[in-house]
Symmetry: D2
Subunit: 147 residues, 4 copies
């Protein structure tokens, strides 16, 4: 899939998106940061901390789920703007490798569909510095009618 | 599916299972409790607390994922015993209704397959006292070779 | 989950449902039959034939997918009636055992959610006469606005 | 994800792969063709015919599932060679747009993991000539032990 790099269709830029996420999810968003944003992609970082780890020193499954979920949510908000109240309806996630404990986790999200009622994105998760994905997730968000 | 109620195939009973989970996941397991266990089913409870909630007073997606994941993990351990080091390889979860904030979340897990290498279970999640599921998840665990 | 057995909420009974499916999918529906229908469950049968088999004599993956898809579709139509034009938006399916070649495949479908816009059902597939599921699937249907 | 373009890790080239698929699935494979193959990607084409269509002139869900399944299977075989007997254990598929009836359907598959026991690939499906995906699927294959 060729992804256009223009940003003219974005409703929010990186700064506006970060501000909005800090505002609506103050305690959740402090774990995350946006690395890059285009009209069809966003890279979101999990600032890995002790509370995201499992015994044995690996990032926990719920933390990986949370990162994938936040990445697609950020992508949808970047397109539909801060009025939206989108909710996750489905997530399928494959855990493929063990993440490294002392590195941030990077989500590379692609927006696959942005319809009137449903948005679909997929996400590859990487330990920073590695090119082998630790997990892959696909999420659907339901977008409430506007107006 | 008719589920046999005998427990003779269980490698661990409720107490042994709880003890083992407390031992291997001390900080994680304190959020959970086992309500019931048969050879094919387990009910696991999330002791809902402020840290599981989202603004608006609903249980967060990662907390629901964590409960579903723990429920299938507990089911697999109850059958294969405490030597096993099973890992989640796949989860598909549908979020269907908003959980209530001030109630525990109950996972009703069925073991659908216990093979040599892979186990599959599905889970319905309910806010305690309600019979309408808030989420449904299916998980696959990879079971490492014994010996 | 306790499933109520009353049928008063059904928009179509078994005969009306079969007739409608024959009418809208004439070539597809001839492979299937409805065994049982309640307000929350439907059992649908794949009349297994040579064209559903793979070399080695097992029912093919696409045939199992088709049966799961048809079962949830039939369940949704039984509730919303023949005016509806529902479409599958997501399916997650786990293939757990090899189906037997010379037996019909039975889908046991549960309706988990029937919302205004989305319906979710899950399905266990069995070779007739066996109580070990060969596959489990969860499907989401998008229901277009009425009127 | 940067995908290396070298083919030295391939166990089978396009011709060997096509021959093997024709040999093991003679009736299934005649609907498909391989457009391109690298060590991490394969493009597979569904030669769309009347029997893949639904009333209203769109490619059926089972046909889309079959294409995604075949694409990941071809990818795995290209890497592990013709001795392997891999089986699908899980598929999650999102149907996002209506495919066009009179065009071939193209699967773009990426190999996300090739482990000893499990392989994971994801697939975007496009109607030929369009850059908007009609579906996205992720599949897991179980690879039996060698030797």
């Amino acid at each position: 899939m060729t992804l256009a790099l223009n940003v003219e269709d974005l409703a929010l830029n990186v700064e506006e998106l970060s501000d909005y996420l800090s505002e609506v999810f103050p305690e959740v968003w402090e774990d995350f940061a946006i690395d890059a944003l285009t009209r069809d992609t966003v890279n979101v970082r999990l600032l890995t901390d002790d509370r995201h780890l499992r015994p044995g020193g690996t990032v926990s499954g719920p933390s990986m789920f949370a990162l994938a979920d936040v990445a697609v949510y950020a992508m949808v908000l970047a397109r539909v703007g801060r009025k939206a109240l989108a909710v996750t309806t489905n997530c399928s996630i494959d855990f493929m490798r063990k993440p490294e404990a002392n590195r941030d986790l990077i989500a590379q999200c692609r927006l696959l569909k942005l319809g009137r009622a449903l948005a679909v994105g997929d996400v590859l998760l990487f330990s920073e510095g590695s090119d082998k994905p630790v997990a892959h997730a696909t999420l659907t968000y339901s977008i409430p009618p506007r107006g």
